[in-house]
Amino acid sequence: MSWQAIDRKSAPADEGPGLSDAVKEKIRAFFPRYETKRAVMLPALHVAQEAIGYISVRAMKDIAELLELPPSAVMDVVTFYTHYWTHPRGEKVLMVCRSLSCQLMGADKLQHAIETKLGIKDHETTPDGKFSFMTEECLAACDHAPCLMVNERMHKRVTPEQLDKLLADADSDKLPMPRSDLYDAPHGEKPARGH
């Protein structure tokens, strides 16, 4: 009801998983790269999301402690960016563009097909935890509309008919290209340089 106020004073009953010592160490490895600890916010959130699949309340608190910030400052950044998840995410995240070019080329049909096939709506996850679905403002490939992104891999000119094959493909989310020389690998691991 509109006159009722949400209680924000008490912590949620389930704060979700926290960060392990190894993950915290990974985040600390970023500190020497920046002038302030605050600047490590985005890499730290990436590391956390990679480790536990999303950014839990507990993880936000852990990061706040590491970066010596109030936890609200972490929540501010997490909620600003749509690609940080604040609730559990499936193994593969399907992102459909909802901007003009893709819409004209049938993105809404594609979205409808995904929603009926998986039985989930925007920003939801299938019960088996395999797939999550979200819409995206633009995937920057209007010339190949409609586009569908699965984790890091972009699929172009996707029709609803191709969907079954795409969902069944175990590698549909792998970026096919190796990283470029300019890629700055997180948490200090040595990347394979060159192509």
Partner: protein, 533 residues
Amino acid sequence: MPKITVDGKQIECRDGVPVLQAVLEAGWDVPHYCYHPGLSVVASCRLCLMEMKMPHPQTKEMDWAPKLFPSCQTPVKDGMEVRFASEGVASSQSHVMEYYLVNHPLDCPVCDKAGECYLQDYSEKFGHASSRMVEDKHKNPKKDIGSKTLLYSDRCVVCSRCVRFGDEVAGAGELRVINRGHRAEIDVFPGVPLENELQGNVVDLCPVGALLSKDFLFQQRVWNLRSTPSVDPTTSAGATIWIDHNDDRIFRVRPRFNEKVNEWWISDETRFGWKYVADSKRLNQPLQRDNGAMKPLRWEAAPELLRRLLDEAASADQGVGVACVLSPMLSCEEAWLLSTFVRSRAPQATLVTGYVPVSGPDKTFPKGFKISAEKAPNRRGVESIIKAMGGPNATFEQFVKSAGDGKFKLAYVTGGYPQVWLTADQARAIGKVQTLITHDLFESALDEYATIRLPGASWAEREGSFMNADGLIQPFERALKPLDGVKSDGQFFHELVGRPGLYRGAKTREAMAEKIPAFGDIFVPRPEPEHAH
């Protein structure tokens, strides 16, 4: 001092201020939400936009630049020319106002801010009378974000003043903006509520009705309130405040801008420290001991009785056996009147600085706001008066000790503290005084020893001045009529001294300054510009 031209008029401004601050100080009403002189500038509300003359890129002639500039983020520069009275600026203001009201619930009839809300004021002056919005409104939720504060985020304009206040002034940073775009809202981290000691200020800072004080919620429409300038009675810092009251009841206390002490802020201690004024346990009847029992005493008979008692006690030895405890809760004027009265009858009477409550160390916040550990407003004022009066004097501890040793025949003890201020041991020692006159707000351990017990008035029912810990003498006015049966301390002392007419703080101060010149120099903070907020 730079001179700038605004709407064709030349104004002089302070160095280094933004154009917005300069024009507000010169009397312009420029709409603004996010700008606050005490906080960093973010230029996010886009309401204070202005036109500015700049050199034309080709001809190099000075001409009006085609785009608008945020006046809060543009520092004044000698010779600059800006204008607010133009079609471009007016149209921008009206469009921005329309955006602000797109999702606003327009629930002014139930909103505490109505009447002092800058959405209302600016809509009236710069916006539209009606909305063109036909779509469903996006509705952000109402949130309980702390023990003293509610957040109605559907009314919020996301100016981020509260967020910056929490970061920069309070140093706690509990409030943040979450999400973005039209979904942006202010929030606290779940389980980390807004609980810093300056949190009440975010309610004053909020230009709309989004942040609300639970204490003031639905208590009073603001247009029924009258504001009286006053000074914080809870600590020795001397923060200046407004007492908002109606029908002799205080409803809230707000900060009053003071460039030397508290700037735009007050602590929650000051903000909510007035509750004792309305306490039902307050004394409201003068009493006199008659054969062991306390019997009512008429106020009219009290001065004569006190004079007689004092004369009896002082007749033999010039009043060596007389003491007068001047509480640091008294105003300078009251302390002066009372000590003048006592010394006029007993020239060798001992003047005592009353008990000074101290709690913890001083606290300093990031931008320099201080919460003083000394929880009485006028210790320094009372000390200066005692020093200026000369003659015997004592600290409170010395007084208690000599009273216990039976040195005093008569003592006039003023209290006026909102909290318990005496231990039973201290009371027993003071109780050795044969004739004990107490003047206090609440019952105390002294009552069983008192010969005469007079009810005191709270600071809101009195007038005068307090000298803060830095020696600033700041006058305060009377906001309320004293409780039924209570006479304001100043008026009573005025009658004791035998002065004609009614007690007035300013008049008494003049008379006092003739004897003690230091009290001629009072400090009144400069008023904030009319349209600033």
